[in-house]
Symmetry: C2
Subunit: 498 residues, 2 copies
């Protein structure tokens, strides 16, 4: 029996995925365990692994095998055909851009990121503007090459790196709908909260030990398997590792447990997705998680839809009170709910609540699109940012550190990423809505700390699909329709105005 082109590709990608997995663990180690003085050597290791993974894709043999396999798709079952499609996507992304440009981009982003840290600390946009211009120019050059390869617009081609098959058209339709009702909803929510008595402060022993103990207990509750994963500490929380060894991180503040706890639950949502990906496709492109919007939907479903909801908070309150040796009357589901769902017009995206968060994202999406398309210069950026903040949220940042310098994305070369946050939030609402409709026992189970019915539904309808379908197909099959703002709107109204 001869080995088909498709089978040869599977062998190649299996190797590439194993290299990526090795890199992923080394990245986790760098963020959690590695001593500070070892970063140079780690950089060398990771850059060699990146080159090796890239070479798997860019060799001429891979191109020939892809052509050959695409001539013989009749031999493939659905998953194999989807796998071949994802192989081609990865190949297009890797081969559209000449390697010199990839190198230039890596260097420019690295330089800019270093400069950005200083510029942000000094709230001085002019200090990083030239470096940012360089990153933007190279991003556009790279985006144009990808646009040609994919036969898409430049922005859509950049977006495809994070959100496969995503499009400006879809996003603009959704975001424009959001914009039509969100500002009023925010105003109404704040007004309502102000008319109510302030939540009671929480009193207890929020030692890191206690926080970790509660965090791990709740990870268990959600379904996290500690036989195939860990919880550690890092400066910037993330979900890393690999599907069979998911490594999530958090950071603790001894003054306040809420941020670390909700952070842990958020990352656990990501982790459940990774862990439930189909193991039989572990080392193939089709076995990977779908784009960033689906990934973010899983973390936000657990954190925002479930864990900041009163059902879960009623379950949490006595548990948390016990772990923290809590005193006072604040340890009730209702009071936790008030604390955990406060709406505020702030400057900083990562500190924003779920009602104001979309405004932050819409602003970034509009501005990055305009910059990519040449409709906004970097000189105009700070003013455009502040003007739009005023329009969308009614606040004007007092300086660029609280404005256009706050996020790393543009400075590190991640253009086209921002919209996935809000697509994720809306997808989370729509999936959770469908889950509750299809499985009526979910809300009462959550009230008892039983995530099994929800997780079973998510595994079946989302996690196990991996990349065998597009985000849109997954959402449509799971919920009966493509993504709309409808369920997200209903969720916000129910939680903040009811």
């Amino acid at each position: 029996m001869t080995t088909s082109a498709y089978q040869k590709l599977e062998a190649k990608f299996r190797r590439q995925m194993a290299i990526e997995q090795a890199s992923s663990i080394l990245h986790w180690d760098a963020a959690t365990m590695m001593p500070a003085g070892s970063s140079e050597g780690r950089g060398e290791q990771l850059s060699v692994l990146a080159v090796l993974a890239h070479e798997t894709l860019t060799g001429s043999e891979t191109a020939d095998l892809l052509d050959e396999a695409e001539e013989a798709t009749f031999e493939l079952d659905d998953w194999q055909a989807a796998n071949l499609k994802e192989m081609r996507r990865q190949w297009l992304h890797a081969n559209a851009v000449p390697s010199e440009l990839v190198e230039k981009m890596a260097k420019a982003s690295n330089d800019c990121e270093i400069q950005w840290r200083q510029a942000r600390a000094a709230s001085d946009f002019s200090a990083v503007k030239d470096q940012m211009q360089r990153v933007l120019d190279l991003t556009i050059e790279s985006g144009k090459a990808k646009a040609e390869a994919f036969n898409k617009s430049v922005y859509d081609a950049l977006l495809d790196q994070y959100e496969p098959d995503g499009s400006v058209a879809t996003i603009e339709a959704l975001f424009s709908d959001l914009q039509s009702w969100l500002p009023k909803l925010i105003g109404d929510a704040i007004e309502k909260q102000e008319s109510q008595p302030a939540p009671l402060p929480l009193d207890g022993d929020f030692s890191i030990e206690n926080q970790k103990s509660l965090g791990e207990a709740l990870m268990n509750t959600v379904g996290f398997d500690f036989n195939k994963g860990r919880l550690d500490v890092s400066a910037h929380p993330f979900c890393g590792g690999v599907p069979d060894d998911v490594r999530i991180t958090t950071r603790y503040s001894e003054d306040d447990f809420t941020s670390a706890l909700m952070g842990v639950l958020h990352e656990t949502g990501h982790a459940m997705y990774e862990a439930n990906l189909p193991s039989e496709w572990r080392y193939q492109p089709v076995g990977s998680s779908r784009g960033m919007s689906v990934h973010e939907s899983q973390s936000l479903l657990v954190e925002m839809q479930v864990c900041r909801g009163e059902n879960f908070l009623s379950y949490l309150a006595p548990k948390a009170k016990e772990v923290f040796h809590g005193k006072g009357n604040g340890w009730t589901g209702e009071n936790l709910s008030q604390l955990y769902t406060k709406v505020e017009r702030g400057f900083i995206r990562v500190e924003a609540d779920e009602a104001t968060y979309p405004a932050h994202v819409i602003l970034r999406f509009e501005l990055e699109k305009a910059m990519i398309e040449g409709d906004l210069t970097l000189s105009e950026l700070p003013t455009a940012w502040n003007d739009r903040m005023e329009q969308l949220l009614g606040v004007t940042p007092p300086n660029d550190g609280l404005g256009c310098l706050q996020d790393i994305h543009w400075y590190s070369g991640a253009w086209g990423y921002f919209p996935t946050y809000t697509l994720g939030a809306m997808t989370a609402a729509q999936l959770f809505g469908a889950a509750k409709t299809q499985k009526a026992e979910i809300p009462s189970a959550l009230r008892n700390g039983d995530f099994a019915p929800l997780m079973t539904w998510l595994k079946e309808n989302v996690h196990s699909k991996a990349s065998s379908q597009s985000s849109d197909e997954i959402v449509k099959q799971a919920t009966g329709s493509s993504l709309t703002t409808e369920v997200f709107k209903k969720h916000l109204i129910d939680r903040y105005l009811a």
Copy 2:
């Protein structure tokens, strides 16, 4: 300017070394951090990285470049020439053996190792004999291929994997000298110790926290840089990681701190060697540590020569008493010395003291050489082992679990490794002797917990040489003569009979 063949080889080996470094951190992670359920995926990652590192060496381009570079050694300085020599050695090891044989060997060793764990637990050699025969047969096949490539005997070719340029002739001369006086020395030492009052037991709080705190303090004392390394826990202590990120491990028992503490100091000796390798040759074969005998000499110099000596123990006693909140009169240098230098005729190598240890190694060296050369069959092994134990140490293991099943080496395919332990012990004695002669301040510095004079000497005379010279050349330059048993003998007499 054209790139020379030598320069191209440097680029290739730089990549290969970075892959090996990545693997090393992943191995550390597997032993310390990885959850149990993730071992299958880690195996996949490591095996792909091993294949990639191996491919760097086995491609036809590498062979051509080596030939070409060896034609133009006049262009190279001493370090480059030594680097080229080490490249050729690695190439010979990698290319002498056909890849099917490498794969068969990996599988056979893996199967045998699994079976061995059960056989050892059951003290049943017959349960693993067939698997061991398979490993031995493949080891001989592989050894014959290497023997031809290196123009050496089979055993010398296997030895070269662990001890480059080592030879049976040298080892037999040293070991036969050892045998002529060691049995009597052991008897005399035991007799002397039995004639003295028993050491006082140590009383204190040996919590893991306290042990770790003392271990880290002493690592600092020796010179370990925590900005480029860590101390963690694993089932089997080791020194891993990479020179710029040395990861040592230990295991704690709350009943007794001595074993973990001396283990930490032992691994710190290894770590200092790695950390002091010349950073300008970090990613080249010549920049790696010399063979296992030099490596073991560094750990044994710190542990056996220095830290079990009375100078250091006098420094340690009050420190340890304080950390452990020690009570009673046992916390003196003299009493610790009695506890830390007890000679006993035991069955188990890894529990043996420095006086009886060489007997364990001589036995294994003789038997493995006989098996490789076809002079001893596996059916004869258990009896041969027990007979030789009786002759060398005067004890007969009551079962094979305490006899020929105790060590993993033969079952996992590491033939030719054992003699390096005792070569290391003798090298440690000879180096420490020379250091004290050349730098008279070393003993008094150690009495004050100051390792700087010793470490400066070791860095200059051993660590910084890396693989630019042979073990023999390093020892000769540092001590004025090739390795002999003389200083080791003097050390044992001074410590145990004086």
